[in-house]
């Protein structure tokens, strides 16, 4: 029988080995059976049965469809497969089927042993030579299995059942459509039973389809196999979102870079530096949120840790220790997302954000062995030696007497002299006979070496004396007895030891109606012996105490392991800074503004986040220093998909930070990086460059706009030619990223982020090229890669104009005679009068500007504008008024410091003139001014109206 059994195992190993060998490296064609599965769920698997030609059933509780092959009879089964299906090993079980009579097709027999592919991977590997982590079979067309034949006169007693479940990719493809519609998980497990006799094993070798399928994006609307990273990720995401935790960026591909040196919790303090891609140009249709995070780096590290301790047991008077440990594996996936380079204009402001997200999955891979709870209280044996050297014995037999004798002689060391002595005493003819005869007469179970007096205390269980007490381990590891009841006077009949403090003992008897009589002289020396085996305790209390302490050790171990992934108090640091340069007295001055910002502009200031369970503490929180846009985490989620146990934890951390903003003087336009009040307002989340900032990364700027030209610039309305008619060779482009062509001037850092305390630097840049093509050089300026005549960003001219011909050409000629287009000009207008400077309603519905249409309107109207219809202000300055105003002027330092008040509208901040509206310098009858609510208009209709003037959808 054993040989048959072994052959069966060998056959099974061979089969699986063949399966493993034919396992394809690529995946297989997508199936489209999800609807069938869904339908089948309502019909107990009928459709699936038809599909596969096997029995199936649906369990609503587990949402599982099970296919069973060969479960209906013991006949061979042909599994019809219409397409390739890939399986991975799920479990192997052994059933005793010797009692099956074939009448109940669902009778699987009695489960004898089961190997779980995940938990018992090592055992499976050892016993079957299969590595469940990699074992796959791909079945195409048919799988033929001839199994146990009922007619066999010698049926095998065992039936091996190998369960496979659908491999990941197959599941992804199969359930895509179904999952998209239902947004829920479909779990399918395939069970293939292989009968006891694996005859004519034949598996059609699959022909691999040339359809490599890679998971390129995690879409949580899909469903994934429960144990894939994607599923874990989506599960965590859902939980996080349920907590209002916001969005986690989804990895775009499998591009995680592993950093093994972080496995030691970043002992090396390694700093990873990432730079933004110079050619990640933001597509025009990119949403505001997405454009900030075009660059993403993914990192991964694993930490395997083993936490050890010792259980301590006190068996008898012996202390026994046992090493125990638990193993934990933590995987941390970190994404670092940051924005692309920025094309800027001097004096303007920009926003730059960085987001780091960590997802941690920790599995307690091996729990510590639980402490032994099966101890039992052992009763020691009294061993006595006669005062004259004769052995009296124990209540047991020769071997126990021998051990007791040696124990008494040398403490159990079995020295030669004691061994010889005790052998003679116990096994010697006279000794043995004497001992046996002696012992058989007694019912002694206990006596006591009393520390208090010389009175004897004994117990005789056969005499119904309810004598209570316990043994314990005293000095020099001697077993002692502590009595708790059954006084001497109540002692039952029989013989017993009386043991005195001095170590002598005597055997006494108590007869019916009589007193206690000595059997021999009280010259014997007695000790308690025995109770040295495993799990033998002297008393309940010691047993309970050991269990309690060892249980604490166990719980501490488990706690330490699970704590490795739980949210502990972790403090992460964050900074962001920007560089710029400006000229002062022909000297270029380099400047860096550090955040969190201090008045001293200290570069050592750090913003910190302390993550702890369900709590995030940010510091500092004041306006000037708070660089955090959002913070989330750290949440512990018990993993439903955990491989092992409830101690498997998923956690995540997320921080988004950037520039906190600058303070802008709403009256004069000055900016400062420090806090101000009054007319200063905070320009949120922005970093503003000084107007005098030097150009930087000009070549990238030009390249960037060459790239973007076709999409947004140089339209027909203005008939301009491309300004930067240059192209870069590929080698030149490489220079952008490998050479010194790029000056990185935006820097963000984080330290101690996440579980493994990641240190990351992010460097990116803004570019400014203020070599705007100037109007004076209009005709010659096509640049072609060379610098244009310099014109600074704040360069403007106040021109006296002819309303009929706002922008005459160089000869002063009038604009084009094309009267059909009143917006025509003799020369190209300055930028702010061009169609490119249109501010449409998408920007600000209450304050639009369409220079192209407006200039057409102005030129059409020409001097007819001097009409009451367009009169905005009408002020008469009498001699008296003039005198008052001149008097008022004397107290002013300049005309730009008039008595004006800032008033905020929905769109712009406007001035509210006290001269015109509050004081009485100009009498009311001498002024016709618009109402206050009309001041919000870019161009008001006239002073009598509160409406804004609009040119065919232009200004408002």
């Amino acid at each position: 029988m054993k040989k048959t059994y072994s052959k069966r195992i060998l056959g099974l190993i061979l089969l699986v080995a063949v399966l493993v060998m034919v396992w394809p490296k690529d995946t297989y064609a997508a199936l489209n059976y999800c609807q069938i599965f869904e339908k089948s769920k309502k019909n107990n698997g009928k459709e699936v049965s038809e599909l596969f030609g096997v029995k199936s059933s649906y369990d609503a509780d587990t949402d599982k469809i099970t296919l069973k092959l060969n479960s209906k009879s013991y006949q061979g089964t042909i599994l019809s497969i219409k397409n390739n299906i890939k399986f991975k090993l799920s479990e192997i079980s052994v059933y005793d089927i010797s009692e099956r009579d074939g009448t109940n097709p669902d009778d699987e027999g009695t489960l004898i042993r089961k190997w779980d592919a995940k938990k018992d991977a090592a055992d499976i590997k050892k016993e079957f030579g299969i590595d469940p982590a990699t074992a796959r079979i791909t079945v195409k067309d048919k799988l033929v299995m001839n199994t146990y034949n009922q007619a066999d006169l010698n049926p095998p007693p065992m039936n091996y059942v190998i369960r496979f479940e659908a491999a990941d990719n197959w599941y992804l493809e199969l359930c895509k459509e179904w999952a998209d519609k239902t947004n829920s998980t479909l779990f399918i497990e395939y069970i293939i039973e292989i009968g006891g006799r694996l005859q004519n094993k034949e598996i059609t070798k699959p022909e691999l389809p040339d359809l490599p399928i890679n998971v390129v994006k995690i879409d949580c609307k899909k469903t994934y196999d429960a144990n894939t990273f994607e599923a874990k990720y989506c599960d965590l995401k859902a939980k996080a979102e349920a907590k209002g935790a916001g969005t986690i960026v989804i990895p775009a591909d499998g591009g995680y870079t592993s950093y093994e040196d972080y496995a030691e919790k970043n002992k090396l303090k390694k700093v990873l530096t990432f730079t933004c891609n110079a050619f990640d140009f933001v597509p025009n249709d990119t949403s505001s949120d997405e454009k900030f995070y075009l660059n993403t780096k993914y990192m991964h590290a694993t930490l395997k840790n083993e936490v050890s301790s010792k259980y301590v047991y006190h068996y008898g008077c012996k202390e026994v220790t046992k090493d125990v440990s638990c193993k934990v594996r933590c995987d941390e996936y970190v994404s670092v997302e940051y924005g692309p380079p920025i094309a800027m204009t001097a004096g303007l402001c920009f926003e730059y954000k960085v987001r780091v997200t960590s997802r941690v999955y920790c599995d307690v891979e091996q729990l510590p062995e639980k402490p032994n709870t099966k101890g039992k209280v052992c009763t020691p044996v009294p061993a006595c030696e006669h005062g004259r050297g004769g052995w009296i014995g124990t209540a047991a037999g020769p071997s126990e007497d021998f051990d007791a004798c040696v124990d008494m002689c040398d403490g159990g060391k079995y020295t030669p002299s004691c061994s010889v002595k005790c052998y003679n005493q116990v096994y010697g003819l006279s000794g043995a006979a004497k001992t046996n005869a002696f012992i058989n007469d007694f019912n002694i179970v206990a006596t006591r070496l009393d520390d208090g007096d010389n009175s004897a205390h004994t117990v005789d269980r056969d005499r119904n004396c309810d004598y209570k007490g316990y043994y314990y381990c005293g000095k020099d590891n001697q077993i002692l007895w502590e009595s708790q009841g059954c006084e001497t006077g109540k002692l039952g009949l029989g013989r017993f030891y009386e043991t005195h403090k001095h170590g002598h003992a005597c055997v006494k008897t108590k007869a019916e109606g009589g007193g206690i009589a000595s059997v021999c002289g009280c010259t014997a020396t007695c000790k308690w012996t025995g109770c040295k085996k495993e799990n033998q305790y002297l008393n309940e209390e010691q047993m309970e105490e050991d269990y309690k302490k060892n249980k604490e050790i166990y719980e501490n171990l488990v706690s330490k392991c699970s704590q490795q992934s739980k949210c502990s108090t972790t403090q992460s640091e964050f900074t962001i800074s920007a560089d710029y340069s400006y000229k002062e007295k022909d000297k270029v001055i380099e400047q860096t503004v550090y955040y969190p910002h201090t008045p001293e502009n200290s570069k050592n200031e750090k913003a910190t986040i302390t993550y702890s369970k369900n709590n995030v503490l940010c510091s500092p929180t004041d306006e000037i220093k708070n660089i955090f846009y959002s913070t989330n985490g750290c949440y512990n989620c018990a993993r439903q998909d955990a491989l092992e146990n409830e101690y498997s934890i998923a956690t995540w951390y997320q921080t988004e930070w950037g520039f906190p903003g600058v303070w802008v003087d709403m009256k004069h336009g000055n900016v400062d990086y420090n806090f101000h009040s009054g007319n200063w307002k905070r320009f949120t989340n922005k970093f503003c460059l000084p107007s005098a900032v030097q150009d930087v990364n000009e070549l990238w700027y030009n390249t960037y706009y060459m790239k973007q030209n076709t999409n947004f610039s140089f339209n027909d309305k203005e008939n301009k030619e491309p300004l930067y008619n240059m192209t870069l060779s590929e080698s030149c482009k490489r220079e952008f990223t490998t050479g010194d062509l790029i000056k990185y001037n935006i820097h963000a850092t984080t330290r101690n982020f996440g579980l493994f305390k990641w240190n990351v630097n992010i460097d990116c840049f803004y570019a400014i090229n203020s070599d705007f093509p100037a109007i004076e050089n209009e005709k010659s300026c096509k640049c072609n890669g060379e610098k244009c005549t310099e014109a600074t960003a704040d360069a403007y001219v106040i021109r006296t104009v002819d309303l009929a011909n706002l922008f005459p050409d160089e000869g002063g000629a009038k604009r084009s005679e094309d009267t059909s287009n009143p917006s025509n000009t003799g020369r190209a207008p300055g930028f702010n009068w061009s169609a490119y400077a249109t501010v449409d309603a998408d920007k600000d519905p209450n304050y639009t500007s369409d220079p192209y249409k407006y200039r057409g309107w102005v030129q059409s109207l020409s001097n007819n504008v001097y009409s009451d219809e367009y009169l905005d202000y009408d002020i008469t300055l009498t001699k008296d008024t003039l005198n008052k105003m001149r008097s008022a002027n004397k107290s002013k330092t300049n005309f730009n410091d008039g008595e004006v008040t800032l008033k905020r509208t929905d769109s712009v901040t406007m001035y509210y003139s006290k001269l015109l509206r509050e004081n009485d310098i100009i009498p009311d009858e001498d002024k016709n001014i618009p109402q206050t609510e009309a001041l919000k208009c870019n161009n008001l209709v006239n002073w009598q109206s509160t409406e804004c003037f609009v040119v065919q959808g232009g200004n408002s």
Binding site: F683, K686, T800, Y870, Y873, L877, F895, N938
Partner: protein, 161 residues
């Protein structure tokens, strides 16, 4: 006609001639003075009324109409003689792109001032001005203006706390 009467006639004629010359001179020089005064005052007021905050948040020049008018009036009052009255009118002030049209009526010596401003014989001067960028392209501003997700030119109430 006796010599006396002739002398008186000559004197009267001389006075009339002198008066006429004075009036004509007053018209021409007043008009010229008013024009340059108007131009310089307007240009200076335009410069003073450019909104630096809008330039930072939008990359475009904007003038504030109320500030322009006030600044103009203060400057004008500081520059003109207080022997005349003036009527200052502002037409079609456009903030973005900046454009103003200003008209000033001032009394001549023959004007009658009823105390409510000049009512007759005024000198009228018009002046039209714009603020024009000296460059005709700013690609980064242009790009951001076309990108509705960009914060450029968004209402100040959304940008500032």
């Amino acid at each position: 006609m006796n010599k006396g009467m002739l002398a008186v006639g000559i004197i009267i004629l001389s006075i009339i001639t002198l008066l006429l010359i004075n009036v004509l001179s007053n018209y021409s020089t007043g008009s010229e003075l008013d024009y340059y005064l108007l131009k310089e005052t307007t240009d200076a007021a335009l410069e003073d009324s450019i909104d630096p905050v809008y330039l930072r948040t939008c990359g475009l020049y904007r003038i504030d109409k109320e500030k322009f008018v006030e600044n103009f009036l203060y400057r004008f009052a500081n520059s003109v003689e207080t022997t005349r009255s003036y009527r200052v009118r502002f037409y079609d002030i456009n903030e973005v792109p900046p454009k103003v049209s200003v008209k000033i009526d001032s009394l001549t010596v023959l004007s009658v001032d009823s105390g409510k401003g000049p009512e007759a014989a005024t000198i009228t001067t018009n002046y039209d001005a714009i603020v024009e960028a000296k460059y005709y392209s700013n690609l980064s501003v242009e790009e951001q203006l076309k990108n509705k997700d960009s914060d450029l030119c968004k209402p100040a109430s959304k940008l500032f706390e």
